[in-house]
């Protein structure tokens, strides 16, 4: 499978477009467990369209406007600042803490709005900074909701860093304490666990390395050369003989870990140290015959694996000569591995989200 001469099966772009458009239109009742994280599903779906470069061609202006409206409907002010909630699953006419903003949903909403080229004129920047501040815990970590509400782990910390980076304002959080917390999640294997004392895992390793790279410069380098080398070692060893990445030592490969592992290597500047052809082959084989991408060959697809797989190949698919483009090619516009969105979307976000200076 890792033979570089094996041709890649075609990218079934239009089938993937249909898969995520279908999800945006309706999700089956069996997916009720995403009721409290709907904004993330929206991000994966719109993000897939963005990566495939079809947002303008495959959706109407009317659709995109109504999608933006829906996202803004989830923008709520709580006692501890403003941000986005996952969806209307607890919405009532009165305010309650059960209906407040959530840090992961705030990050996914901001990027989804940037994909839809929103002008962010409605964003209350000091309110968002206050919200992010209220989610930081004493040990430097972040909870998903204010005052230690919800669970605390590296996912929330990464989202807090992305939000501060997008706003261009780190003044509301204690960056040094937060990066020390990230360091305490590093394990002897070279990866990072979800919390200090936890086993190294691909997703949390990405979150840790991306967070350290997003952070403004500190008194010392955020990563030593030896720490980087150990992370690279662990990451490249998670590439399975099939080309796919596993999330932990000894586990089976999964398309989503192709993203987490592959993006972490990009951030470390070690993108040339993995087998990109076998990597793309694995993801190509995870394409479901009727559209969408699953975690492994033959597995049913979902928006999460579809988006992360496309993002993974956007970083590693072979670059083609402009004239060589044709239907089914694995060809993508530049991708930003730090914030996890297309380069154009990140550029839009960075120029429209920060507070305007007058």
């Amino acid at each position: 499978m890792n033979n570089t001469s094996d041709p890649l099966p075609p990218l079934a772009a239009s089938a993937h477009v249909a898969h995520v458009k279908h999800a945006l239109a309706r999700l089956p009742g069996s997916m009720v467990n995403v009721d409290a994280s709907r904004m993330a599903i929206v991000f994966y779906c719109i993000g897939s369209l963005d990566l495939l470069g079809v947002l303008e061609t495959e959706t109407s202006q009317v659709d995109r406007t109504s999608w933006r409206m829906w996202i803004w409907e989830q923008y709520v002010a709580g006692r501890y600042g403003t941000g986005f909630r996952p969806g209307p699953f607890m919405s009532t006419s009165v305010h309650s803490d059960q209906n407040g903003p959530h840090i992961i949903m705030t990050y996914t909403a901001l990027l989804s709005l940037a994909m839809l080229r929103d002008d962010f004129s409605r964003l209350n920047r000091p309110g968002v900074l206050k919200f992010v501040n209220s989610c930081q815990n004493r040990d430097g970590s972040f909870s998903s909701m204010p005052n230690g509400g919800g669970d605390s782990d590296l996912r929330n910390l990464y989202c807090a860093f992305c939000i501060c980076s997008l706003l261009g304002d780190w003044s509301s959080i204690d960056v040094e304490r937060a990066t020390t917390f990230v360091g305490s999640c590093r394990t002897y294997e070279g990866g990072y666990g979800q919390l200090p004392s936890c086993e190294a895992q691909g997703g949390t390793t990405y979150l840790a390395i991306a967070a350290l790279r997003l952070a403004p410069p500190g008194p010392r380098p955020r990563l030593t050369a030896a720490e980087q080398a150990r992370s690279e070692h662990w990451l490249v060893h998670n590439q399975d003989a099939s080309g796919g990445f596993r999330g932990r030592t000894g586990k089976a490969p999964d398309a989503c870990y192709c993203f987490w592992g592959g993006a972490a290597l990009q951030i470390l500047g070690a993108q040339d140290k993995l087998n990109a052809h076998a990597f793309t082959q694995f993801i190509a084989a995870c394409q479901f015959p009727f559209g969408g991408i699953g975690r492994a060959p033959g597995q049913p697809p979902d928006p999460y694996h579809t988006y992360l797989s496309l993002a993974a190949v956007a970083m590693y698919a072979p670059r083609l000569e402009p004239g060589a483009r044709r239907y089914g090619q694995w060809e993508f516009a530049p991708f930003d591995p730090l914030l996890n969105a297309s380069g154009d979307t990140v550029r839009w976000a960075r120029s429209h989200i920060p507070a305007r200076r007058f």
């Binding site: 009720v32 467990n33 995403v34 209307p88 399975d240 030592t249 040339d272």
Partner: protein, 337 residues
Amino acid sequence: MIPAPAPPPPVLYSTRPEWSDVEPLQQYEKANPLAPILYSEEYKDATDYLRGIVKAGEKSERVLALTEHVIRLNPAHYSAWQYRYETLLALDAPLDTEVALMDELADKYLKTYQVWHHRRLLLLRRGARAAAAELAFVGRILQRDEKNYHTWAHRQWLLASFNDDVLWGGELDFVDSMMNRDVRNNSAWHHRFFVVFQSGVREGEADRERIVRRELIYVKQNISLAPNNASAWNYLRGVLEYNRLPFSTVAAFVQPYTVLLPEAATDIVDLENPPPGRGAELPCAAAVEFLADVYEEKGGADVQTAVGLWRSLADEHDTIRKKYWEFRIRDALTALQ
């Protein structure tokens, strides 16, 4: 076999007289919902009443029944969990009863963050007296799903938070029992490292040299039983690096694993250097890599030996990582100049 009868349709809250005093609140969503979920009638009805209860601020016994119902339909419904916890506290409800229910739910919804978060909140309330039973519970769950990340994380949190010698006392035996089931279980290897090196020094473990020797023998024996086990090799590297020991400390042990046919074993059993078992698939790529690191560490002319070993990995024993090995070759040769 006679098929089980279909479960009766759920009795909706909207038809129950004992709930008639609650004003149900439908989810408020404007005209163009994005990624709407086709809720079941049962879920829609139960969450209508949950929203109604939250708006009214009611905290009573029936709220416990209602939130349990919503959680069973959607264990990731964090607001139901949060409101349930607040209600438990408001009612001063017996937390042991709650834990019994949670034992069942944790078993069912192992992969849900909220299940474990709720247990954590309960434990912090119940205090150290409950920790031993919790540890036993986590052990039982791990028998069923040996690599479940949340469950291991919960165990590590429990040990670190209560930091009680009695709790720590059984951990190495526990790791052994997990390792006996599957020597390739990386979660168990990680847990061993956490217990031995990352959680402070406990009674009887003050002689660190002896502990390091014990760990090296442990990992070597496991490698000898199953040489192609990335978890064990990572552990070996981890023990040496953490204790600032050069890799060459174990070069004599590693060498026989790097060749196709090791010299015939003698009758003398060398505990320090257990040889590969009969039928082992050799050479073992992790051993070849390890030996290359030993030579690179030595520097000078030995670097060329390391280069040869990396070459064999790139071309033969570990071709998927060809680019990585070629990078290591370039890197080492540059450092040499």
